[in-house]
Symmetry: C2
Subunit: 283 residues, 2 copies
């Protein structure tokens, strides 16, 4: 048990749990144990970002066999805890045949704005993403297939691989979106092609996309179906308030990619139909 | 992510994580999946009891293969959530080769009394347990070995087996002990023989036991080394306040089993030396 020192700031507590399993969510032939630790903590915190919250504490439950490199795993967890200012205050360690990491994160929802869920988008809302997509999928491709590396300079390749191994998340952007009146939000953990359908279905709206921002070095298919980018997908009134708010805070303005429509069966990218793309966890 | 409805009552938040693994913490040839679910939630909540807190919410991370009987598992979790008034507000489900259940519980520490840790016992404090010991170990023996069942009436046997399959925990007693000035407390998850040494070492005291209350049907060895009883071990000033407080609350008065001494190397049960008994997780 952990007694959290001092009062929790504000009355609204967020709780998030996320589990990663060896052979399902990661492959130790492509990434290091430190990468796994980083990612386990980071993706759990991303759920707090996607609601507009601030992470407070993490608890880490590790189940692993004796061959596990605990030091490296814990190093990665600690780096991420420092990076996202979310100290690990407890957890437990059990023996198991398979490496399983469950991370629980608490967070707080500060200020008067309501929590942002994926179900709040309304017809006419604009849709935004906080950055170009497909970096993690491209990084995975480069790590898996050495022949894919030709034609990319080393720094670019390493940046893409790093996006897969050590994803960044959008905490300041999530809070800003909530403060600027976002109506719906989620992180793109499974890729825009699947997650946008989820947001639209939960909100009872359709969508028409003008554009999908594909990261340099990634393909459109990776941008739509890749997942693990952890950029935020945001719906907000189409009145410029979101862009103005981000600008005032000195944050990169999210890219407008389309609008929500009243016809919940409408799923378009330009003139094309964009049906839900199934996501498979990659190694 | 879960947005906890309403403010958390009181400023002090408790967080506890506990993991159970198939083949390490339970054996599905002896217990049902519903038993496993009950126990996973219950033992995580017991850590909150041992600090004098009240459970608030649980998050359950399940990693399991397709052969897992999820319905039964979830039934057991739900029964325990209802029993301990600790609703499951979130969690996640991932595929894995081995069944692993990580439960995170939040709790609150109400009122002005400080949290009770295992490290607060002082020389001269009396030691108490909230009930007779060895029931879970005896229940395990009866479930594992049919020949052990002779000479016990059926109701008694079933009660012991139930103590192993569906442990009860001491939430009201934990809060009462904290309110009545307990100096140190822990739950006896690994057995008095090991846990008392832990409490004494953490507090820098020794101990002399007059007595170990052995549950009917259990052996002294099961009472000392069995574990999984989840009775509370309490240290408190030897002034009768603890007993009076429990009586005033209508709770069964904990049994006094001995005292803490100033010599941290003193570990006695009557005239015998009582060294730390190693604990092995039983199936």
């Amino acid at each position: 048990v952990v007694l959290v020192p001092g009062p929790i700031d504000g009355p609204r507590l967020l709780l998030s749990t996320d589990t990663v399993v060896a052979g399902v969510h990661f492959d130790l032939s492509l990434v290091t144990p430190a990468d796994v630790g980083w990612k386990a903590l980071t993706v759990a915190i991303s759920d707090i970002a996607a609601m507009g919250g601030r992470p407070a504490h993490a608890l880490v439950a590790l189940s692993a066999g004796p061959a596990t490199d605990f030091d490296a795993l814990v190093d990665g967890i600690s780096e991420a805890a420092k990076r996202w200012r979310c100290p690990v205050v407890g957890g437990d360690l059990t023996s198991a045949a398979q490496l399983v990491i469950s991370v629980t994160v608490t967070g707080t929802l500060e200020g008067p704005a309501p929590a942002v869920h994926r179900s709040g988008a309304r017809p006419g809302d604009a849709l935004f993403v906080t950055g170009p997509l497909g970096t993690a999928a491209a990084g995975h491709r480069l790590l898996s297939d050495r022949t894919a590396r030709s034609g990319l300079d080393a720094a670019h390749r390493l940046a893409l691989e790093r996006a897969f191994r050590r994803p960044e998340i959008r905490l300041a952007e999530g809070r800003a979106a909530r403060d600027c009146g976002a109506s719906a939000m989620m992180d793109l953990s499974d890729g825009l092609g699947l997650d946008l359908h989820r947001l639209a279905r939960a909100s009872g709206v359709g969508f028409v996309l003008d554009d999908v921002p594909v990261a340099p070095g990634a393909t459109l298919s990776e941008a739509l179906g890749g997942g693990e980018d952890y950029e935020l997908l945001i719906a907000a009134p189409d009145d410029g308030a979101l862009a103005a708010g981000f600008q005032a805070l000195g944050l990169l303005v999210p890219q407008r990619i389309g609008v929500c429509t009243a016809d919940a069966t409408e799923h378009r990218l330009g003139q094309r139909s964009l049906e839900a793309t199934g996501y498979q966890h990659r190694f």
